[in-house]
């Protein structure tokens, strides 16, 4: 399984995602620069958290028009998995790859804390290894994470079961007190109509190792492998040998002497 983690100027969780995929899950990870136009050869694309291009306009608005997003769109249309985390989720909504929008938190402030989310849907590539109703401990860190959509979109999302995660309390109850940012319907993550594109505000990569307090997030990445092992992705072209190299950001040269296990 070959993963691509996109780096926009201003991304700041790209290295964290690469770390978890490469050193915790032992995956083959390519670092994809924001100017890349071809993602051929990648099985899964991750849009990480951060402040792409500074987010000085709306969060994710400029990134949604970047060259790599055209390629991400093609990747998604081919039915291949795309995961947007935090800023990556914002980018996916701005790019209309996911419905709705992420606006300023109800309290108007940046919030960094541990929250609980309930798994609502388990047939996406990123939740296949989870149980419906399972409660996960994941951190959030955002100022613009309040999920909103018009009534029709929300109704359609609910009707089609496209809400993937909802903020909840430790017992899994979706209550207002457990909603950190005022998201409508407590929505923490949604999926595309086909289910292969998933975005969420919490950071699963920050909850992938016991030493950091929770391993609940690892399942999102591990689910993709589960799917690959049990059933090849539908319309996605299977990996083939001799494919052209993936245009990627050069690894920092310091990495050459970094031992394994370094984020």
């Amino acid at each position: 399984m070959i993963w691509g983690v996109v780096t926009f100027p201003g991304s700041n969780c790209d290295r964290d995602c690469v770390h978890v995929l490469r050193h915790v899950l032992g995956q083959d990870v390519r670092e994809v620069w924001h100017e890349a136009r071809d993602l051929t050869g990648l099985d899964v694309v991750v849009l990480p958290g951060g402040f792409a291009y500074g987010d000085y306009l709306r969060a994710g608005a400029i990134a949604a028009t970047s060259p790599v997003l055209h390629a991400v769109r093609r990747h998604a249309r081919a039915g291949r998995p795309v995961l947007g985390i935090c800023n990556g989720f914002q980018v996916l909504t701005e790019a209309r790859l996911l419905p709705g929008a992420l606006v300023r938190n109800r309290g108007l402030r940046f919030i960094c804390r541990q929250v609980w989310v309930r798994v609502e849907r388990t047939d996406t590539p990123f939740t296949r290894g989870l149980r419906p109703g399972q409660v996960l401990r994941l951190p959030i860190a955002h100022a613009e994470g309040r999920y909103v959509a018009d009534a029709a979109t929300l109704a359609a999302l609910e009707a089609q079961g496209r809400v993937v995660f909802r903020y909840c309390d430790a017992e899994g109850r979706v209550v207002e007190a457990a909603n950190p940012n005022g998201s409508l319907h407590g929505i923490a993550g949604v999926a595309s109509a086909e289910g292969n594109v998933v975005g969420l505000m919490p950071h699963p990569e920050r909850a992938a190792e016991a030493v950091l307090g929770s391993r609940d997030g690892l399942a999102l990445f591990a689910s993709v492998l589960l799917q690959a092992a049990t059933a090849p992705p539908g319309p996605a072209a299977p990996a083939e040998p001799g494919r052209p190299p993936v245009p990627s950001r050069a690894a920092p040269a310091a990495g050459a002497r970094r031992p394994a296990g370094v984020p």
Partner: protein, 740 residues
């Protein structure tokens, strides 16, 4: 602005004394022109030249087996393990934050990150130490909210976690808040960069373009603030751009990784001129700059503005001429400007040219050789301490728990991304934050920052020493051994004899405490002239200490563990006082009295026991007894555990008997001082802890058991406090409203 600069020929207008102007004139054998005078104004400012502090600072221990770089570069460097080294530095941004809290704090964060970057390190953590006026003052509340937002706005975006901090209030900080930011970085020991140039190398300007913001910031930082500062000095405050800052970090690390960077420095205080002059001075060479090659944000900048602008997010790189294009390409890839703007020469002169015409021509040694100033120190008279009136311990406890020093500060640190970079094992809110070091598992770094202006106001030596010992105690509570210290010394005008005395005393206190602990001070910053119309600040040396935790996995597992049956004991002892305490402040007693002199040897022994007990998993939780004394520490522990406790204390000898009960045992319950650590452990392990402590002659006093939903405390078998957990929690969380 241009007119003001061009017209400023009077040396006093650039902050130089008549004597300094005469020294310059004599050394040059001519009158300096306006551009040159401006350069002297900045490079000879207190901020850049440490005129009042250089001699005293030499008393700090700066060496040790692990020290790879002590003071004198952009930041200190200490070896950690496995070929990795830690870079650390702390700096103040007090004056800018008083004028423009958001941008002042934001650029403070950006500046310290670039100091660490200049050593070749990837920045991995930020800490901030803040001082404001009391929260009942609307302006102080606004400054606090603005500073917190500025730290969050820059730190979150630039992707460096803010993992800890320190907050205290006092009316003395009302006009002149303190905003001190520390940054830590990691670098391969063989990849440490230096800020120096050598003849034949070129200067590559890299980063954001130069504008007019922050012209004269260093000189501005070297004056007292007057009542109009908030309106008039805004032009001297820089504007931060965390996006450019993030790109600059990545581009610079990529450039350094090529091995072609010979020297690199942040363009901070004093801008391009200061960076080029300092790099030339360290390399023992000269520098010539062509100002028309500097990437500008706007047209029409005067030469002195280009030289001295403190526009943010810029680095100056020294490299071989043939390497410049490859290095520039790294910056251009990240959307940043890059241009060769000059070269290092062998003649020891600093020259600036505009279209070939020389506009400044000065000896580098003279620019970096500001004469020291010596003020004869004078010890102020000791102010006697008025007696503390009788009090109700429960009422006072609730008042103290709501004070910014003790309150639940989640409302602040939840605004900071404290988890990015996936290293944070112990988040803010504990005695010390802990980061894992996956580079050298299972090691971790423990970080803390402390300051005690209330004690320093009464005895700067004892206060500064106690600050260092408290930092070490915080580290011991997470099982970490001190590795290095960086400090930020905030004082009023050093031209006053009693400030000169307090400064020297505080430095001695830090020096002696660090020697006792065997920990070097590898760098830091001095901030003088912290005064407002209503008077000076408390002398406030801040200390950021980093320690090495041997096993973060063990620490993470112990901290989560339950302890049954859970018992609380107090490790250590020491003389306590109400002078300069939170209790004295809360009951409205005028500051005065004397504080205990530090007991270094006893503190070192006690902390060694704490460290062992935490590392061996003997204790489940350790919490340093500091601000507010024993009773607030007990209440904090209950709140951390979400459980009550039944505690039986013996009154201190001075308070034994009926009169102590009548007064409310203030010294026993609220006295501050000594080295005392609250430990939570299963009752079955108490004998093992006692044996460990006895081997180091450290007293262990049983306090009581954890359980129930109230904190109940008796002193000499008389009831002192009985408060439901919920009431304690409400008091501690009231602080959130201060920021609302």
């Amino acid at each position: 602005m241009v007119t003001a600069l061009r017209g400023a020929l009077d040396p006093a207008r650039v902050g130089l004394t008549a004597a300094e102007a005469a020294t310059i004139r004599t050394a040059l054998g001519r009158e300096p022109n306006a551009v040159e005078l401006r350069c002297f104004g900045v490079l000879w400012s207190e901020h850049c030249a440490y005129k009042h502090s250089r001699t005293v600072l030499r008393r700090l221990p700066a060496t040790g087996a692990r020290v790879l770089q002590g003071p004198g570069e952009n930041a200190g460097v200490v070896a950690v393990a496995g070929g990795w080294a830690l870079v650390l530095k702390m700096e103040s941004h007090n004056h800018p934050s008083a004028v423009d809290p958001y941008n002042g704090a934001a650029t403070g964060v950006g500046g310290i990150i670039r100091d660490v970057l200049a050593m070749g390190a990837r920045p991995v953590a930020l800490l901030d130490a803040l001082r404001f006026g009391p929260p009942d003052d609307p302006r102080s509340r606004r400054l606090l909210a603005g500073v917190v937002a500025g730290i969050a706005g820059y730190g979150n975006s630039v992707g460096v976690p803010t993992v800890g901090g320190d907050l205290a209030v006092d009316p003395a900080y009302r006009d002149n808040p303190l905003v001190n930011v520390a940054c830590l970085g990691l670098v391969r020991a063989d990849g440490v960069a230096r800020a120096r140039a050598a003849p034949g190398q070129v200067f590559l300007y890299a980063g954001a373009r130069t504008g007019r913001d922050g012209v004269g910031g260093a000189a501005f930082a070297s004056e007292e603030l007057d009542e109009h500062a908030e309106r008039e000095d805004r032009a001297a405050v820089q504007i931060g751009d965390p996006f450019a800052g993030k790109c600059l970090v990545e581009a610079t690390l990529a450039a350094l990784a090529t091995g072609r960077v010979r020297g690199v420095q942040d363009m901070g205080a004093g801008g391009l001129a200061c960076a080029a002059v300092e790099m030339a001075a360290r390399g023992g060479c000269g520098a010539v700059l062509d100002l028309d090659r500097v990437p500008l944000r706007e047209g029409g900048l005067a030469p002195e503005e280009i030289l001295l602008s403190e526009s943010q997010e810029r680095m100056l790189v020294a490299c071989a001429p043939e390497d410049a294009p490859a290095l520039a390409a790294h910056y251009e890839r990240w959307g940043l400007a890059a241009a060769v703007v000059g070269r290092a020469t062998a003649d020891g002169r600093f020259r600036a040219r505009v279209q070939g015409a020389v506009v400044a021509d000065l000896p580098v040694a003279l620019l970096t050789g500001a004469p020291e100033r010596h003020v004869v120190p004078r010890q102020p008279p000791v102010v006697p301490s008025p007696p503390v009136p009788p009090l109700d311990p429960a009422v006072l406890l609730l008042r103290l728990l709501a004070a910014p020093e003790l309150a639940d500060r989640r409302a602040i640190f939840e605004q900071y991304d404290h988890m990015v970079q996936v290293r944070t094992v112990v988040p803010p809110g504990a005695d010390a934050a802990v980061l894992r070091l996956p580079e050298v598992p299972p090691l971790g770094l423990a970080l803390t920052v402390d300051g005690n202006g209330r004690w320093c106001a009464l005895d700067p030596y004892a206060g500064a020493a106690a600050t260092v010992l408290e930092a070490a105690a915080n580290l011991a509570c997470v099982g970490a051994e001190p590795l290095a210290v960086t400090d930020c010394l905030n004082f009023p005008s050093p031209e006053r004899p009693e400030v000169a005395w307090a400064f020297a005393q505080a430095v001695d206190g830090i020096a002696d405490a660090c020697r006792a602990l065997g920990v070097p001070v590898v760098g830091g910053n001095v901030s003088f002239y912290n005064e407002g119309p209503r008077g000076p600040i408390l002398p406030t040396p801040m200390v950021a200490m980093v320690g090495l935790a041997p096993d973060v996995a063990q620490l993470a597992s112990t901290r989560g563990a339950g302890a049954d049956p859970p018992v609380l004991v107090l490790l250590g002892d020491g003389e306590v006082t109400l002078a300069g305490s939170l209790c004295a402040r809360a009951v409205g007693v005028r500051p005065g009295g004397t504080v205990p002199r530090p007991a270094f040897e006893r503190a070192v022994r006690t902390l060694e026991v704490v460290r062992c007990a935490v590392r061996e998993g003997l204790v489940v939780l350790a919490h340093d007894v500091s601000d507010g004394g024993l009773l607030p520490a007990l209440a904090e522990t209950c709140l951390t555990l979400h459980r009550g406790a039944r505690i039986a204390l013996g009154a201190l000898p001075q308070e034994a008997g009926p009169s102590g009960a009548a007064a409310g045992w203030p010294l026993t319950l609220f006295g501050e001082g000594g080295t005392r650590v609250l430990c939570l452990l299963p009752g079955s392990r108490v004998p093992a802890l006692e044996a460990l402590a006895a081997s180091a002659r450290v007293p262990v006093r049983p306090l009581g058991v954890v359980g129930g939903d109230a904190l109940t405390v008796t002193v000499d078998d008389s009831p002192a406090v009985h408060l439901p957990l919920e009431v304690l929690g409400r008091a501690a969380s009231a602080f959130a409203e201060v920021l609302a």
